[in-house]
Symmetry: C2
Subunit: 382 residues, 2 copies
């Protein structure tokens, strides 16, 4: 619990702003610096333990993260994509099943459905929230539809009440892609505890990020959890006994040790993110820039702060010239990728518009007040 | 290069033999002890680098291991099972393809074929070598057969000349499951360089073992290597561009740092293994015990020293009573597992006999001469 946060860093440890005009979009070196001492100690311990597969650190993290999300089970897995693949595979849907998923998401949400052997059915998002539009789900339901995979994109929970209403009407399972929403809440419950099961990613850039690939599944379903524990381990629940055709997808013991250190700051980091987002929301004021919706009663994890702007390249060039890093999440819609060439001629107009216009501006715990002010000023002057 | 080997350990670092009668089958804590200092330093570096996905350590390991195997390409992946899955997926066989595989192997070899979407066709091994019997391959070839996945089980290379002869005749690809054969040679070439591509596992207990899951693919095929580099990375060769429906299966940067340290001793460790195996081969002399075949011109990696004995449980009890650890690789044949319930009624008599009779006795770099002598004496007195 004595992990230093950025608030407690000595001035010399503070980000060097090189006269402010050099704000990277994301600098993991800086983000991880306060943890380094504790992480090195944790790794040393794990190395000395002699047990490297599904050991004490994984067990501890699974317990911690289940409690954090308020669910009965957390199953550590190798990464966020595998978490979703395993969830879907373990759900035992028949081979031709269809799974509904938003048309705008990191492609992994869609890949998971394909890799699990099912058919992704794309549903357009709400242009204002970037989240799946519950009103458009029903028209895509067929007799083969078995589940809805919602994505809490950029850190904001979907409109779960509306999604669950459709799901109940058609007896569909609902899974959450919570890769970007560690700690987000919806009606007082945490992401990961809002449906039948959820997949998390701890990719290094996530709100809770490992130093490599890592992931987890959360669920309240005992039988599903038991199948998942076997299915992440070649299908084996007991040494040398294989009841399923499983994957090898275990949460790495060393990465779990790192997550156990970094977890201690997840809530305080999210709090800092929220404060930054609130400043952007109240102080960015430029008719050319469309801001994301503000927090209402639900808690946004603010994984990314995504604005929209026409002529994105011009805007990004302006940011770069002013020493402000930015990124795009994401530039090409999944249905326009060669990986899904069979969809390349289809139109998902809202997803396409989003993919053309979004820009992510810096939002992370290393930003100083001065840097945030500078970013706001520059954007307002655009 | 200054990593200590067991040969250079001070007496106080030596395994405590507790009056000899306490020889574990495998003690990774002890095995990794000489590396700990260097590994902790390597991890500290990797942590401080701020780059955790497909970074410098992975690049370095891929280069080192490609050179070691004598191949053009090494692609680091998450584990040994994924290595095989990716190899098969990247080979672009049509959906109903059949892949020939031995009926006695760690189940992952077979799972890989199923997970890649193909049909495993089991072929019985040679009872003396435990390796696929090339004479039995041809009768299993159909018009759907596209590849042979040989397994260099326990560290010994298969009879590749005979396998390649059949493969060429029927225009089949040949892949090596080299999970147990790091450094083994066949006709002067290393495992991993004997066919169209190979999958390696660096599971902690392997001859070259990480401290968690890790794997690699080796190949001389440029186009295949390029597809594999994308397919281990969600199908993306270029940021945000997805040409394939890939997996997330990257060699962990921290595990690569560990492998870069441990690799320096792979050859000397294999040399120690060979010396131990040679003592067992020449000194174990008991009509109840069937020994594995000796090295001839080819270099065995001696991942495991597997003997056969009738009434295995009685023998293992005897070993336990004498403080000698043992293990079974493996107790239940893949076709008898529930994971392949459709095969449960089929008979593979040789595989079944092997699975009933095999026992693995201690073979690892921590064994002292005294312990080896003791093990041999006890086995001879059985
Ligand atoms: C909704 C949803 N579902 C499933 C998934 C799948 O989860 P996964 O399998 O765990 O990846 C994702 C993953 N999502 C992410 C995706 O959002 C994107 O994330 P990103 O933050 O844009 O990632 P990036 O471009 O690698 O890094 C951003 C910046 O961060 C800096 N950096 C990065 C790294 C890796 C580093 O080591 N050091 C650095 O300094 C430099 C970079 O410019 O790309 C990743 C590969 C995915 O894991 C998702 O968003
Ligand atoms: C031919 C072939 N093809 C593909 C594969 C798939 O590769 P993979 O996906 O990388 O696993 C294999 C894997 N093969 C191995 C398989 O041979 C077997 O290996 P094993 O050495 O018997 O493994 P184990 O039972 O976990 O460990 C043996 C002893 O080692 C000690 N130990 C173990 C661990 C993990 C530890 O941290 N500390 C310890 O002290 C105690 C244990 O008693 O089971 C593993 C799960 C597979 O990865 C294979 O053999």
């Amino acid at each position: 619990a004595d992990v230093k946060t950025f608030a407690t860093l000595k001035p010399t440890d503070k980000p060097s702003t090189k006269g402010i005009k050099n704000i990277p979009f994301l600098d993991l070196k800086l983000i991880n610096r306060p943890y380094e001492k504790d992480i090195n100690a944790a790794l040393k311990n794990a190395v000395a333990s002699g047990w490297f597969v599904l050991g004490e650190e994984v067990k501890k993290f699974e317990k911690t993260f289940a409690e954090y999300c308020g669910v009965k089970h957390c199953i550590g897995v190798a990464n966020g994509l595998d978490a979703l693949v395993l969830l879907l595979k373990a759900s035992q849907f028949p081979p031709d099943s269809e799974v509904i998923v938003p048309s705008n998401t990191y492609i992994a949400s869609i890949l998971a459905i394909t890799l699990a052997g099912f058919k992704p059915i794309l549903v357009e998002p709400d242009i204002d929230t970037y989240l799946i539009d519950p009103a458009k789900i029903e028209e895509k339901i067929t007799r083969n539809t078995k589940a809805i995979l919602v994505v809490h994109l950029y850190g904001k929970c979907c409109d779960m009440e509306a999604v669950m209403r459709v799901a109940h009407r058609y007896d569909l399972k609902v899974f959450e892609d919570a890769a970007q929403s560690h700690g987000a809440t919806y009606q007082g419950k945490k992401a990961g505890n809002l449906a039948d099961g959820a997949g998390f990613s701890f990719y290094p850039t996530k709100n809770l990020g490992a130093m490599g690939d890592a992931g987890a599944i959360t669920t309240n379903d005992d039988a599903l959890a038991e199948r998942l524990r076997a299915k992440r381990n070649y299908g084996s629940g007991k040494k040398y006994v294989f009841d399923y055709q499983g994957l090898n997808s275990r949460l790495d013991e060393l990465q779990a040790a790192i997550l156990n250190v970094k977890f201690l700051n997840l809530d305080s980091d999210n709090f800092i993110r929220q404060k930054i987002a609130n400043r952007y929301l109240s102080e960015i004021n430029n008719p050319n820039i469309i801001l994301p919706p503000a927090n209402t009663v639900n808690q946004d994890a603010w994984h990314l702060f995504v604005i929209r702007v026409e002529n994105r390249e011009k805007f990004r060039k302006y940011l770069t010239e002013n020493g402000i890093g930015s990124d795009i999440h994401y530039p090409i819609a999944p249905h326009k990728q060669l990986a899904y060439r069979e969809w390349n001629n289809r139109t998902f107009a809202i997803a396409e518009k989003i993919h053309e216009e979004v820009v992510s501006i810096p939002l992370n715990v290393t930003l100083t007040e001065k840097e945030i002010t500078y970013i706001i000023e520059k954007i307002n002057k655009y």
